[in-house]
Amino acid sequence: MSGKYDKVAYYPGCALEGTGHAYNRSTKAVGKKLGLDLVELKNWNCCGAMEVKNVDPKLQTYLSARNLSIAKDMGFDTVMAPCNGCYHNLKKAEYDLANDDASREVNTRLATKAGHTDYQSGDVTTIHALDWIKEGIGEEDLKSRVKNSLKGLKIANYYGCMYTRPRHIFPEKDQGPDSESTSKPHFMDDLLAAAGAENVEYPLKTACCGGAHTLSDSDTSTKLVLNLLETAEACGADVIATECPTCHSGLEMHQMRAEKVFGRKTNVKILYFTQLLGIALGLSPRKVGVHENMSESRDLLREKGLA
């Protein structure tokens, strides 16, 4: 559509090299299919995830800002991060460096000691994989490229916490109907609808999966995930579409744990939105890494004529 994201810097982050590999594979495959070029940041580091800020928030700002400085050094003004955690942290770093003197001071000090570019806010804009396709391609264009419509597939769109909260770090959101909403996000709904899917009314779009304590407080996480899964089923969904590797693996792990530990079985499937889009664009389930997911959804795809 606009062509503004035809070539952007790509920050996969640690999860996409580990448990979220299927998200990495499907994001790249969809980008290739849509003619959107991704150039991976050279020698990137972890953004600090959800953990480093609890040890010290400014350390997290430094870690994230280092990645932004790499994008700048490589000549990019836009970096795309598919992981909610990475996306959130890069946005947070941008906000803190623009608004907080103490964060700026620590970042400059650490960057100087470490001997790399001292990132200044405003140099690089971070976008999510959803922005990348929604604003780089758009629904109309996407519709015309669909080869394998998701017609008949009922989807609950799940965005999690870090895509919209806290809202002050996302100044471009809540800016009218074309922008993303922090209270009722719709970018994923829009894209999957363009691919032919039927989105169900899902009230827990931005509820929490307990990802921060997925291992350290497993029972709480299992309860939260079970609520997400059972509500999706009650809403009539066949699939929960995800856009974050932590949410995705949390849903998969705790779906299994809820069955084994709590004796509560749910059948709703869990797929990355990029896997669903890829299939709609005519890629095989294997090409978008459906076999790499921890949960099994190939039967459903076969049943719906998508595999």
Binding site: N43, K113, H213, D217, S221, S295, E296
Partner: protein, 252 residues
């Protein structure tokens, strides 16, 4: 989520009379004594300042007790004792003893930031929860909670190599918290995955546990971060009036 029933009267404030007849009326059973007068003398007048001195707690003074945080809270929905509004109140009036009743659940905040989203006063309650959990540990009121063990293991790995390898985090975390790695649900999940994945990818994943992902040329960043962490630890302890000697002992 179920709707919770919660009593406002604590068990120790109940009196039980097996047989009690007043003015000819049988009033045997539980009686609440909550209206007994209570005098609080052990305030910690510095409590709010102590929390505000730790990262995340800076804006606690802005709270006007509307309760939007607790109303929005993810954890409150599954445990009604998890009550950010109440804890912020206790901290602001300095009722340390009351706060300590909940010392073993404050760490359970999942950082969903629903409170931060709802707060009309920019208190950042999520940050206050983290600062309070941190304060409890620094003061020695609680042992290190699983989430802090996880956070530190994670941070240690990032500082050391620049990247995270999730398998290693998992192993080290279970080891440090004394849990078996072969938990039934994990085994079931991995078994399903191994069954489906091609051998080449499994080989790659196996190799990743031998050759950890790392950011090259990370050494200077590592040293810069280590210096900064030491500096922060010292500053945090100083703000609570704790000496460094006990910090070193605690670290051993």
């Amino acid at each position: 989520m179920p709707i919770h029933e919660k009593t406002l009267i604590r068990p120790e404030n109940l009196i039980e009379h097996e047989e009690l007849v007043l003015d000819g009326v049988d009033v045997s059973g539980h009686w609440s004594t909550f209206i007994e007068s209570r005098t609080v003398t052990d305030y910690n007048e510095a409590l709010q300042e102590e929390i505000a001195a730790l990262p995340g707690g800076e804006n606690i003074h802005r709270c006007w007790q509307c309760g939007s945080c607790t109303n929005a809270c993810t954890v409150n929905a599954i445990n009604p004792d998890f009550n950010p509004r109440y804890w912020i109140y206790l901290i602001r009036v300095g009722m340390e003893e009351e706060l300590l009743r909940d010392k073993d659940i404050i760490w359970q905040c999942v950082s969903c930031n629903k409170c931060t989203y709802a707060c009309p006063r920019d208190v950042f309650p999520e940050g206050v929860m983290k600062a309070t959990a941190h304060w409890l540990e620094l003061k020695g009121y609680t042992e290190k909670k699983p989430s802090m063990i996880f956070d530190e293991e994670f941070t240690e790995q990032i500082v050391a190599s620049g990247k995270i390898e999730d398998g290693k985090v998992l192993r080290r975390f279970f080891q440090k918290t004394g849990q078996p790695l072969m938990q039934e649900w994990l085994v079931a999940m991995v078994r399903g995955l191994v069954f489906r994945l091609p051998v080449s990818l499994l080989m790659k994943m196996g190799l990743a546990t031998l050759f950890h992902p790392r950011t090259s040329g990370w050494d200077r960043s590592r040293r810069a971060m280590e210096d900064y962490i030491d500096e922060r630890h010292e500053a945090d302890r100083k703000s609570l009036g704790l000496d460094m000697k006990s910090a070193e002992m605690g670290a051993e």
